[in-house]
C-alpha cells in the first residue's frame, strides 16, 4: 500500500486549530449540492447541517441519494456543484485521503475489508507503524488494535483473518477502523443493517461516547426505532431532493414516513394466516463441525419459520448448509419426504429451494453485470432456455414486472447493478430468487437496507407466497420482523437449537432468553 496514505499528526492538528479560530454554529454545513449520474439526478440541490456533539440521522427511500451525498463528503465522488463548510471554513475535497485529513471518516454501506488479511492489517492499512529498517512493526500494530478494541469494548482477535469473521463482526471491525481515524465528522451509512440488537446497543454506546467527545455523526438508517433512540436531529431526502430537518423529539414515526415517501404506510408486518400443509423440509441432527451441532426442525408448506439468535449463533450457517453451500458433516435433510444429500446449491435448487444470502456484495451481486443479468442468473438453471439459447424477451418481461413490483429505482434494466443504491441491489436479488418459483425459500436478512415502503411490499410478498403454499425460512436480526412474520420461531444459541416457539407464545423476552442461554 502506498506510504503516502499516512496522515501526519501535524496536519490533523493544524486542521483542528484552524477550526478553533473560525468557530461556527455548525461543524459541517453543506448547501445546494447537485450530483447527476447518466440518466439519474441523484442529488438536486440538497442541504445538511451537522452540529458538534450530535447525531444527525439521514433518512429517505432507497435511491433517495443518501449514500451519494455521503460519498461526496468522503471525497469519493465530486459534486457537480455545491457549497461545503467544515468548521466554518469553505472546503473542496479532492479525494478520500483529503477528506480524512480534513477529519471526515466514513463507514460504508457495503463492507470494504480485505478478507485474506488480518483484522489489524485491515484497520491500519496505509498507516502501519514502522519499526526497524522501515518494515512494518506487526507487534506494535496488534497492540494498537488491542488498545482500540479495548476502548470500544470489542472482543475480536486482532490477528484473525477477516474472511473468518461473521458479517456482523466484520461490521464491528469497520466501525473500529472508522473510529481509529479520530475524525471530527463520522459518517455511518447503515451500520446496523447486519447487526443484532446486542451489537446495536454496543454501537450506540460507542456513538454516545463519541458524542461526548464533541464529534459529529451522520447516521443513515432505515430502522425507525434507532432514529428515536440515538439521533438528535433528522433530515429527510426524497428522490434526490431535500425535504426537511427536525429535532427527533418533535416528530413521530408517521411524520418521517410521510416525508420520506409522500404517503401513508400502515401495517408493517402483515403475515396473513395461511393454511399450513405437509412437512416439506425435515432436518435432523444436522452438524457442521465447529459451527453448529444437532440442529433439528421441520418446515411445512405455507409456513414462515423465523430463525432468531445472536451473532455467532449459527443461523446463517445452518441456512448455508441446508442449501448446500457448505455441506453438512453429519445429520440428514429430508425434502418432500425423500432424504437428499444436498452437496451443492445446484442440488438444492433442483429440489425447489432458493436462498437469498446475507452479504449481497460477497455472495449476491455480480457487480460487473447489469441488472437484467443479475435478476435472471438463477432462473436460467431451470427455465427460459431452449437448446441452450436464452429466451431474452420473456425473461426481460418477467424481470421488469418483478422489479416494478419491488420498486427498484433505476432508469432501465441494462444499467450495471453497481450503479444502484444498496437497497435497490437487495431488491434485485430478491427478484432473482422469486423468479425461480421456489417451493422452499430461505431468506437471510431479506429486508437488509430496504426502506419502509419496499419493506412492507416484501412482507406482503412473503405472506402471499406462504398463502400459495411456499415454505419459508426467514432469518432476521430485527425482532419485530421475526415476531411479525413468523408462524414459529427457531432460536439458536452458539450453534444449538435452544427452543422452537409458536407464534402465540413467542415474544421478545422469551426469544432473548433462549438466545442468550
Amino acid at each position: 500500500m502506498a506510504r503516502s496514505q499516512v496522515i501526519s499528526p501535524q496536519t490533523m492538528q493544524a486542521v483542528r486549530n484552524s477550526g478553533a479560530v473560525a468557530q461556527s454554529e455548525y461543524l459541517l454545513e453543506v448547501k445546494d449540492v447537485r450530483k447527476e449520474f447518466p440518466g439519474v439526478v441523484a442529488l438536486d440541490n440538497v442541504e445538511l447541517r451537522l452540529r458538534r456533539g450530535t447525531v444527525h440521522a439521514l433518512m429517505g427511500e432507497n435511491g433517495a441519494g443518501k449514500s451519494t451525498l455521503m460519498k461526496i463528503l468522503a471525497g469519493i465522488y465530486t459534486p457537480d456543484s455545491g457549497i461545503f463548510r467544515l468548521r466554518g471554513q469553505e472546503i473542496r475535497l479532492k479525494n478520500p485521503l483529503d477528506a480524512l485529513e480534513n477529519g471526515i471518516a466514513m463507514i460504508h454501506q457495503e463492507l470494504n475489508l480485505m478478507a485474506p488479511m488480518t483484522v489489524s492489517e485491515n484497520i491500519w492499512i496505509g498507516r502501519e507503524p514502522s519499526g526497524r529498517f522501515g518494515l512494518i512493526d506487526h507487534a506494535e500494530m496488534n497492540r494498537r488494535t488491542e488498545a482500540l478494541f479495548e476502548r470500544l469494548g470489542i472482543e475480536i482477535d486482532p490477528e484473525i483473518r477477516v474472511g473468518k469473521l461473521s458479517v456482523a463482526n466484520r461490521q464491528m471491525v469497520e466501525i473500529a477502523k472508522a473510529v481509529s481515524f479520530d475524525s471530527d465528522v463520522l459518517i455511518m451509512d447503515e451500520p446496523t443493517s447486519a447487526l443484532t440488537d446486542k451489537e446495536v446497543s454496543h454501537l450506540f454506546r460507542i456513538i454516545r461516547s463519541l458524542k461526548a467527545d464533541g464529534k459529529g455523526i451522520i447516521y443513515i438508517t432505515h430502522k425507525m426505532n434507532e432514529l428515536f433512540e440515538i439521533a438528535d436531529e433528522v433530515s429527510v431526502f426524497r428522490d434526490g431532493k431535500y425535504i426537511a430537518t427536525h429535532n427527533s423529539v418533535d416528530v413521530t414515526r408517521d411524520d418521517i414516513i410521510r416525508m420520506m415517501v409522500g404517503r401513508e404506510i400502515t401495517q408493517m408486518f402483515p403475515k396473513e394466516a395461511a393454511t399450513i400443509g405437509d412437512i416439506v423440509l425435515s432436518v435432523r441432527d444436522l452438524t457442521l463441525n465447529g459451527i453448529f451441532k444437532d440442529v433439528s426442525f421441520d418446515l411445512r408448506a405455507g409456513e414462515v419459520l423465523g430463525f432468531a439468535g445472536l451473532v455467532g449463533s449459527g443461523r446463517s450457517n445452518v441456512a448455508e448448509t441446508i442449501f448446500g453451500v457448505t455441506p453438512a458433516n453429519a445429520g440428514t435433510i429430508e425434502l418432500f419426504g425423500k432424504q437428499v444429500v444436498v452437496s451443492s446449491p445446484s442440488v438444492a435448487m433442483r429440489h425447489g429451494m432458493a436462498f437469498l444470502t446475507e452479504d449481497r456484495k460477497e455472495t449476491g451481486c455480480f457487480l460487473l453485470l447489469d441488472i437484467q443479468e443479475n435478476a435472471q442468473m438463477a432462473v436460467l438453471q431451470q427455465r427460459y432456455v431452449r437448446f441452450g439459447f436464452v429466451q431474452q424477451e420473456k425473461l426481460r418481461k418477467e424481470a421488469d414486472e418483478m422489479a416494478n413490483r419491488l420498486r427498484v429505482r433505476t432508469p432501465d434494466m441494462a444499467e450495471p447493478i453497481i450503479n444502484l443504491s444498496g437497497g435497490n441491489q437487495q431488491k434485485v436479488l430478491i427478484c432473482r430468487w422469486l423468479m425461480t418459483n421456489p417451493r422452499i425459500l430461505i431468506l437471510d436478512e431479506p429486508t437488509r437496507g430496504i426502506d419502509v415502503g419496499a419493506k412492507a411490499e416484501i412482507h406482503r410478498l412473503i405472506s402471499q407466497l406462504a398463502g400459495q403454499g411456499v415454505a419459508i425460512i426467514m432469518i432476521s436480526s430485527e425482532m419485530p420482523e421475526v415476531l411479525g412474520m413468523s408462524d414459529r420461531v427457531v432460536v439458536l444459541h452458539e450453534g444449538r437449537v435452544t427452543g422452537i416457539l409458536d407464534r402465540a407464545e413467542a415474544d421478545q423476552v422469551k426469544i432473548m432468553e433462549l438466545a442468550s442461554r
Binding site: 434526490g240 451443492s344 438463477a378 432501465d412
Partner: protein
Amino acid sequence: MSEATNELGNTSKTGLKKVRRIPPELSILLVLIGIALIFEVMGWYVVGDSFLANKQRLSIIVLQVAVTGIIAVGVTQVIITGGVDLSSGSMVGFIAMVVASFAQTSLNARAVFLQPEYAQFGLSWFIDSSPLWPILVGILLGAFLGYLNGLVIAKTGIPPFIATLGMMVSARGLAKWYTEGQPVALLNENFTWLGQSFNLWGFPVPRTVIVFFIVAIICHVALSYTRYGKFTYAIGANPQAARVSGIDIGKHLIKVYAVAGLLSGLAGVMLAARAQSGQPNMGISFELDAIAAAVIGGASLTGGVGRITGTVIGTIILGVVTSGFTFLKVGAYYQEIVKGAIIVAAVVIDVYRQRKKSRA
C-alpha cells in the same frame, strides 16, 4: 417506460431517464483506425506509398494473425471466467505435428505412419486418405487437452495460470517427442487447400481468415445469447455468487477450457495446412499474442469482462502493427520492442476511458 404503479400507490420515477449506451468496442475500434491512419500517413512520408490501398497487404494483415485470432477467441472465454490459458501455443505446435502426420502422402517415404513403430498400429491407413481425418483428429485432440486443463483446475482448485503453464511445458515436450524433433512434411494437397487463399472480387482471401471469422461469430453468439455465455460471465464476475445461484462452477470451467483447447486444436490444423508441414517449434508465444489480443479488445484479466468483437478488433490491431512496421521497413528487433509498448498503450487508453466514465 410508463409510470409503474403497484398496490402501494405510485412509484415515483422522477429524475430518471434512459441513457444511450455506446458499445465498449467503439473506443478500441477507434484505436485501430487511428493506428492504421498513422501508418498511412507515415507510409506517404517515409516510403512514399499508401499503406492501406494495397489488396495484397490488406489480406496479409489478417492472414498473419488469423491463427492467433482463433486462439484468442478461445482464450477470451477463459479470461472472462477469471482464468488464463498459457498452453495454447504449445498445443498448436503438438497438434500441428500430429495433424500433419495424419495428412501425409505416400510420396514421402519417410512419412511418420510408414515408420515401423507407428505402422504396427495400422496407422499407415491414413496416408493419402481424406483430409477430414487430420481435421477431426486436431480438433478432438485439442478439446481433450483443454478438457485436461479444465479437469485439473476444477478438481484440484489450483490457479489456471499454473495448470496451463504445466500443459504448456508438457505439450511442447510432446511436440518434440512425437518425431524426435523432425518436421513432418509433404502433405496431402486436399488438406493444404485449407491453408490457401481464394479470390473474392479480386481480393485474395485466405481460408484461414474465413475460419477465424466463422469461429468468432459462433463464439460471439454463444457468449451473448446462450446459457453457456451467461454462466461464463457470472463465474468471472463473482464465483461465490455464481455458486450460490446454482451454477456448477467446476463443470462449467471444464467446458470453457475444453472449448479453448478445441480452438487451439483448430488453430493447429490451420497452421499445418498453411505451412504444409508440422514443426515442433510451431506456435511458440502464440498464447501471449492471443492473450494480448483479448486484453487489447477489452477483456479484463480479473474476469467478468470481455467480448469477442473486442478480441477480433484486438487481433486485427496486432496484425496492422506487424505489417505496418514491415511496410515501413522497421527492423524485426525494433518491431518487437515497439509492439510491447503498443500493447500496453492500447490497454492504458481503454482503462483510462473506463475510469473517466465511472468517475463521472
